[in-house]
């Protein structure tokens, strides 16, 4: 039963990882932009949630609703006025710029908030769980996180496949030159992609802040988890990202059940195995 428990916890944890990964995947998919500051954006969202809760006293879920538009607008502006300037044939400038941004964010957070671990409390929900016997207890917050993750991924799918701007995002991923002939301004389309990614990051960061302790240096590890979830699931596949997050989550919790020190390593090992055996990922639409 403890193994069932480990797997269930892993699945639920995977929802959070999928949320971490969704924005990264979207930005890479639409404009081949690798955002190395993605993990730090998650941490920024975590701090924003904390600050809003502390200053206004609102429920953390309300705080998330407040920071989603803020992060979205910031994402739009960041893409339009900074990232678009380094986008081109060469993949190196975006990597360098976002790497620099990552360092700036970490140090700014350290300067303002110090290195102490912080957490957003959600009252009774912190410890609430549904019990199925002595060895299987499912936390309410992880379940909620998972439901949110699935909903958000479904929403991104809806936007991509059922709206005009989503159609244009997919067309841009196919052929960024020809979308200009459709009347789409790439600078704007790219910024919309980053806006959606940043809005998802706001939700991911808020849920992350409720789940565990975080500090200014927590970003790079979240980035790594996000990358691993994307690669395991398969680049460009939305539901693959969820599957990748779940695979990573299960590997970590089952690994942790074997030996607590084995938790993170197990996740990395699964990632390496997938890279070796099925480098295109579990659900990639690009097989060639």
């Amino acid at each position: 039963m403890i193994w069932v428990n480990a797997i269930v916890q892993g699945v639920l944890l995977g929802g959070l990882y999928a949320l971490f990964a969704a924005g990264l995947s979207l930005m890479f998919g639409v404009m081949r932009f690798v955002n190395l500051a993605h993990g730090d954006f998650i941490v920024v969202a975590a701090y924003l949630t904390l600050v809003v809760c502390d200053t206004t006293g609102v429920n953390p879920f309300v705080a998330i609703l407040l920071i989603v538009p803020i992060m979205g607008a910031a994402g739009y502006a960041l893409q339009r006025f900074l990232f678009n300037r380094v986008l081109g044939q060469d993949i190196l400038p975006p990597v360098l710029v976002t790497f620099g941004l990552s360092i700036i964010i970490q140090n700014a957070l350290l300067n303002y908030y110090g290195a102490n671990g912080r957490k957003v409390t959600v009252g009774a929900l912190d410890t609430a769980s549904i019990n199925f016997g002595p060895e299987l207890a499912i936390g309410s917050l992880p379940v909620l996180t998972f439901v949110v993750a699935v909903s958000i991924i479904a929403l991104i799918g809806f936007i991509s496949y059922r709206t005009g701007i989503g159609r244009m995002l997919r067309a841009t991923a196919d052929d960024p030159e020809t979308v200009g002939l459709m009347g789409a301004n790439n600078a704007h389309t790219f910024a919309i992609a980053t806006m959606i990614a940043a809005a998802v990051v706001a939700i991911a960061g808020g849920l992350f802040a409720m789940r565990t302790n975080f500090d200014p240096s927590a970003g790079p590890v979240r980035l790594l988890f996000a990358f691993e979830a994307v690669i395991i699931g398969g680049l460009g596949s939305l539901w693959g990202t969820l599957a990748g997050g779940i695979a990573l989550g299960i590997a970590q919790t089952v690994g942790g059940q074997i030996d607590p020190r084995f938790q993170l390593l197990a996740g990395h090992l699964i990632f390496l195995v997938i890279l070796a055996v099925r480098p295109q990922g579990l659900f990639s639409r690009r097989t060639s």
């Binding site: 005009g164 159609r167 244009m168 997919r170 067309a171 991923a173 196919d174 052929d175 030159e177 020809t178 979308v179 200009g180 002939l181 459709m182 009347g183 789409a184 301004n185 790439n186 639409r285």
Partner: protein, 239 residues
């Protein structure tokens, strides 16, 4: 005298350091069909791309409807009413036929052309509307490319090599739709390898040779000999 719909004067175009067009003059009126002919690499596609904003015409003279618009970007050109059917069709592979067509309307220009009207002139596409853009015959792909450009309800439609790689019967079908497009008041520029086809459909032709305009005139006033010379540049050899 009415002003031309679009006019460029002494247009130069570059790919990096490589100059592809040298001081080209070109103009089209709102009720014209113009064919551009020339050998491979002469600069026909480059001219269309410059007009459509895919190649920058920054700092140059490009007059659209009487307004100076040199250096406009592709999305600005489409929204102003210039649509391009690009060489090689360039359909979006992960979008269905219908989505490809709808993408063409993204600029928001309203007019005669709607999804239903595109399916009316290209009935072959109806059954394929949910297929991916890539899972079509060459002719059907070309129909989607033309339909997608029409969805922008352009005042000027630029068609780059729409008969390339297609069977003669399909080419004939596609050319039969051009009068229907003209009827809606859309001016046409057609880049065509086949000189006979070009002469048959156009009111006026331009011939480009090595990035320079070598000949222009109506099909009636130009002789076969003149066109061949302008096309291949045999005059220089003869002298």
């Amino acid at each position: 005298m009415s002003r031309p719909l679009l006019e460029v004067r002494r247009l130069d175009a570059f790919y990096g350091d490589f100059q592809a067009l040298f001081g080209l003059d070109f103009q089209i009126d709102a009720d014209e069909t113009i064919a551009i002919i020339g050998a491979n690499g002469a600069g026909k596609s480059t001219l269309l791309k410059s007009l459509a904003g895919l190649i920058s015409s920054k700092g140059q003279t490009l007059v659209w409807n009487g307004a100076e618009r040199g250096g406009w970007k592709a999305h600005e050109a489409v929204r102003s009413g210039v649509a391009l059917v690009p060489e090689g069709r360039r359909l979006f592979a992960s979008l269905s036929v219908e989505e490809n067509l709808k993408a063409g309307a993204y600029g928001g220009r309203k007019g005669y052309w709607t999804l239903e009207r595109i399916f009316e002139i290209f009935p072959d596409l109806v059954a394929k509307r949910n297929n991916p853009g890539s899972a079509l015959s060459g002719g059907q792909q070309q129909m989607v490319a033309i339909g997608r450009a029409l969805m922008a309800n352009p005042d000027l439609l630029l068609c780059d090599e729409i008969s390339l790689g297609l069977a003669p019967r399909i080419v004939k079908d596609i050319y039969l739709t051009l009068p229907r497009i003209r009827e809606q008041g859309t001016a046409l520029v057609i880049v065509e390898q086949d000189i006979n086809q070009a002469l048959a459909v156009s009111d006026r032709i331009y011939c480009i040779q090595e990035g320079r305009m070598s000949l222009t005139g109506t099909p009636a006033e130009l002789t076969r000999q003149q066109i061949v010379e302008a096309y291949f540049g045999v005059r220089e050899k003869a002298s």
